[in-house]
Symmetry: C3
Subunit: 356 residues, 3 copies
């Protein structure tokens, strides 16, 4: 007697505008997760590394890296949103709203905010706004992503097309900074970089120099740590018959590697305030060495804060390609096949005029 108690995920016809998906598996984020994150990416940002440094910045303790929070909040949506996805198409309006500290518990819910059946009648695009909250019910992270999902019942009628309006860029007026953050005692010797907000110029390009080679066990340890269940990352038996014959690496793993590498050049970035958008432009596999470079797209004051500013950064990660020459799209707009990530986001940096 075969059971049907296993989760087979939602198909395109299962999603309705306004539908709320309360995702499973709340998760207490601990110092253990933080150590693993350090071991996986080698991050050296002082605020996230040392309680003493964080306390000098007015915080209660070293906050959990923003991207670790992102990956855990994101992972919970996979069984309900993207188990039958053909492709992760993008995300937008990602806002980090409150710091998470070790001991906090996060859970995630999503609202379906857009639907568009594809003309082939076999798939459709689902837009969800996902919200991560902590154990006090406070929002810590809020973002939109959209995925192409298969239909199971091809005869199911197409829903009315709704495409949400999404900001191309998160407006810094919408940033929520930790109210207790203060940077009067910010120590650039301990932070490892003398470069403050004022030192960056729009158009500036930074080669982060270093390269990091990926191993199978590392990306799997990471992706399981995030309780992300997407099969393509774990099941070589299945993937051997895939076009590439290899396990795919979770895109978030590449984002975190690029963020780790970006310390060399962006060492004083305190927080990721927002992600405006991002594309995983090519797959990565174990054995690839990841490099990264960044461009300063914009700079902004933050309403109500004299002491910190925001840099809008575009970071590109490559595989097996050093970034001395800032590899990018060709002049005709065609992609460089070695560029694997193109991420547009806002970083918070201390201002030199206020810090020590």
């Amino acid at each position: 007697m075969a059971s049907n108690k296993t989760n087979t995920g939602n198909y395109f016809e299962d999603f309705k505008i306004g539908q709320i998906l309360n995702h499973a598996t709340p998760r207490t984020i601990t110092e253990g997760d933080v150590s693993l994150y350090t071991a996986l990416y080698g991050g050296r940002f002082a605020l996230q590394s040392a309680d003493s440094f964080a306390i000098d910045c007015g915080l209660q303790a070293a906050p959990v890296d923003d991207l670790l929070v992102f990956h855990i909040v994101f992972g919970k949506t996979v069984p309900d949103v993207s188990l039958n996805a053909v492709a992760n198409l993008g995300y937008a309006d990602v806002r980090f709203v409150a710091p998470v500290y070790p001991g906090d518990t996060v859970q995630t819910s999503s609202e379906v905010i857009g639907l568009k059946q594809n003309s082939n009648g076999k798939t459709g695009v689902v837009y969800v706004r996902s919200t991560g909250v902590n154990q006090m019910g406070e929002v810590v992270l809020d973002y939109v992503r959209w995925v192409m999902v298969r239909k199971n019942n091809l005869d199911a009628p197409a829903p009315e097309t709704v495409i949400p309006e999404l900001p191309a860029v998160v407006d810094p007026v919408n940033f929520v900074m930790p109210p207790d953050l203060q940077i009067q005692q910010f120590d650039t010797t301990l932070s490892g970089s003398p470069h403050m907000y004022e030192d960056y110029e729009i158009g500036e390009k930074i080669d982060h120099i270093d390269g990091m080679t990926i191993e199978e066990s590392e990306h799997m340890l990471a992706t399981r740590l995030y309780q992300n269940t997407a099969k393509v990352h774990f099941n070589q038996y299945m993937m051997k018959d895939d076009r590439m014959g290899r396990r795919l690496i979770y895109g978030g793993h590449i984002i975190s590697l690029a963020r780790g590498l970006s310390f060399n050049g962006l060492g004083n970035s305190l927080f990721v305030a927002a992600i405006n958008g991002g594309s995983h432009t090519a797959p990565t596999f174990a054995g690839n060495t990841v490099f990264a470079w960044s461009e300063v797209l914009d700079k902004s004051d933050i309403p109500g804060r004299e002491d910190i500013g925001a840099l809008r950064i575009r970071t590109l990660a490559t595989k097996d390609t050093p970034c001395t020459d800032f590899p990018d799209k060709s002049e005709d707009g065609s992609r460089n096949p070695n560029v694997v990530l193109d991420l547009d986001y806002w970083l918070i940096l201390p201002k030199a005029t206020v810090a020590l």
Copy 2:
């Protein structure tokens, strides 16, 4: 001047009925161990993932996964019991008696309860009952295992044969449930499964669908985390001359992988109450992809508890073989060479009649 201060382990003739072995290396289990366990197996059981969920279930915090406790308690017995083992033959009467929380310290002792020299005169079977206790001296885990151990002195006389009587199945009357456990607020949205105790039927078979590929570094990280020193898992220089030429994967690693995969179909299992028996029916190696399926063998009320029940589950894990067709022994009883684990155990699930 060569030293003889290294531990060479006990041989068959060193064991005596009634002998107590107090094993070395007490171990404080921490949030760091829990995070590593999540990164190794990707478990999504809500009770073990979130303090908030566990508190809603009446517990003080998220308890440590039962199998992590098992592996750590078990690991301590290796230097004294099985360093000269030819084979791990089985275990029985495994009872998880009290939850372990991060910060608790466990240590293990064993009593020799059975001995039988083999007719070849070169080996014998040793039965031990091992007991894990916490820092308050409370038993947390109690189990019997038996191993075939080499003799060092072939002239040592055979001991009187003693074979302990062992239960084929742990009787639920002997389960010890956490007295503070309450499931009135059990939230099946957060737990990720709507299926409660009443929903399972004897004879039901569940394909857990997903597959997980094993890497060398993962099983070694796991086995070292458990401070299990069995050489076959770590020493490729030695194993290259073994029949298979490869490092063997610790059987407990497969049990934990199967338990992780079983979330998809058994998501509301709160605890492993007992293991009735189990066999590692074939070796696994790095590169294998592990799948699993389960059968409901029996159901039982638990004396004194209206709110929870026990499912007796048989879980089989395979290598490189999806479990859609529930691979098992042949009709003539011969083993399927791709089945690597056959485990018989009791899981505790909430009853729908009591939960929200």
Copy 3:
């Protein structure tokens, strides 16, 4: 517009005698780091494994393994001292001065205490004394290392040669033992070894028997955990063109593996009190199996302590070479190419006359 905000490290001509380098990235060491360290090396020393055992020894909790502290304190010096190093030449006068507990935050500073330009005019040797302090400003670790560093400007004048006087052996009179350490309740059953200070003889050689095979992801997880940024460990794209074509394994990883293996024979070593010197005599690569053996070079009382003594130990680690025959230099002094580590250090052991 290319940025020059990345750290390119110091060159030989950048160092001045008496110069103080305050290194970046203070680090809170947590239970998560301790768990990872256990998973990486499988250490079984009871004092570092169990709070209960440590409390019975008078300490507040299980202290962080000395070598984990060493690697983290050391890692911070890499961006300022050895990013342009040709070779790590040695260390001396390494003293572990105060225990570190989970929750403590360490940071590192270094003083330039020696300089000698090489006759080729292209490189020079830099000696630094590095000091790790905790969040109370207490020194936890103090050591000298010297590295050969490239010149960037070959026309820069050679500095006056200063070669510091360094002790060949740290004098036990300079050991700082934890004042609260007491070993009257030291339990050799729980510690896993009956062999106390008095049981070791000068000249005694111990084969630690076991072997541990290294995987790429393990040494990279370790080295990132230590926030050590030396490129040769991480970047296969770069290293494929190196003479060996492989990523090099951080020497400290080998030290920790050897220390882990040395439990079998030196199980009652409570602390590493000091490292007198050490050489990484050959490179190691993923796939190598590490073995180790030790020789007792000397024994010493410790001023003011009746209950503990110090063993001066020389531990050699090999690759793919069991240590049954204690592989060492040839009689003519030439190195054995399979010996990868030669470490001279002091271990603290309880005295049998005081312990239970």
